[in-house]
């Protein structure tokens, strides 16, 4: 895939939104889990 491909903005938006939201949700749950784990010990 080259940078001059048509519809690049839609492809980048789809991948960007997917990976930003998945990462955000994962980090959010990981930090909450980690905090609870450190409170317990």
């Amino acid at each position: 895939m080259s940078l001059s491909t048509p519809h690049l903005i839609y492809i980048l938006s789809a991948y960007g939104i997917t990976f930003v939201s998945l990462s955000f949700f994962l980090v959010l749950n990981y930090t909450q889990w980690k905090r609870l784990l450190s409170n317990e010990t």
Partner: protein, 237 residues
């Protein structure tokens, strides 16, 4: 399955080694999936590079349905046997399923604009997936709307079971009605009508999404179990 295998203490014990393994597999599948979907897979002869959106859209749709099925099964166990682990797994899975459903709708819209000329149509497939998102939202709203969590969970579980009717509707929507959405090209009886160069990134991304679900489910379920344990200890003081 032996009863002790479904005990929360056993779940916490087995998830300790399972969590890093699942996180590792998720990372590997995401790297391989991204590389094959953006670099090695060819552009489609009709859709061009726009077809690459399918590699994030289709697995998100599969997971949205899979997680709802899991949620309904756990809700059934929690309603019939009042099993604490089933309750915890259902509560933990619902937001992950809602996320996959939202991603399926957003990425589908981003594909629809260049291919159909519009972000949204009130097509049977799109509308039934939107209803699935509302079912996830309704489940969470019901669970949170009661002061006693067990009452909220019972009401939410009934909604989850009623909502199962939407799953065959989503699957059959592209065959039963005239829709703009294309019919299934992978999960059909005559075998997949997709070339292996495009099937590989699709399956790798599906694997990545599955291990993502497993990883976040373990994190959320462990957190919920520990919170419940702390609440019991607090009430005993």
């Amino acid at each position: 399955m032996k009863y002790h295998l479904a005990q929360p203490s056993f779940f916490l014990k087995i998830t300790r080694p399972l969590l890093p393994a699942s996180g590792f597999l998720m990372t590997i599948f995401f790297i391989a999936g991204l590389y094959t979907s953006l670099v090695t897979s060819p552009p489609d002869y009709l859709q061009g590079d726009g077809m690459r959106i399918m590699y994030v859209h289709v697995p998100a749709s599969w997971m949205a349905l899979f997680v709802y099925g899991f949620l309904a099964l756990m809700s059934f166990f929690s309603l019939v046997w009042r099993h604490p682990l089933a309750e915890v797994l259902a509560i933990s899975a619902a937001p992950i399923g809602a996320l996959f459903t939202a991603l399926s709708l957003i990425t589908g819209s981003l594909w629809g604009k260049p291919m159909w000329g519009t972000y949204w149509v009130w097509d049977a497939r799109l509308t039934s997936v939107l209803i699935l998102l509302f079912l996830y939202g309704g489940y969470w709203a019901l669970y949170k709307s009661y002061t006693r969590p067990d009452q909220g969970l019972r009401a939410a579980s009934i909604l989850a079971l009623v909502g199962v009717i939407n799953l065959p509707i989503i699957k059959g929507s592209v065959e039963w009605w005239n829709t703009l959405h294309q019919p299934a090209s992978l999960t059909k009886l005559s075998g997949p009508s997709i070339h292996v160069s495009m099937l590989t990134p699709l399956l790798l991304m599906a694997g990545a999404y599955f291990f993502y679900f497993l990883t976040v489910l373990i994190l959320r379920a462990c957190k919920e179990l520990k919170t419940r344990k702390l609440m019991i200890l607090e009430s005993m003081k």
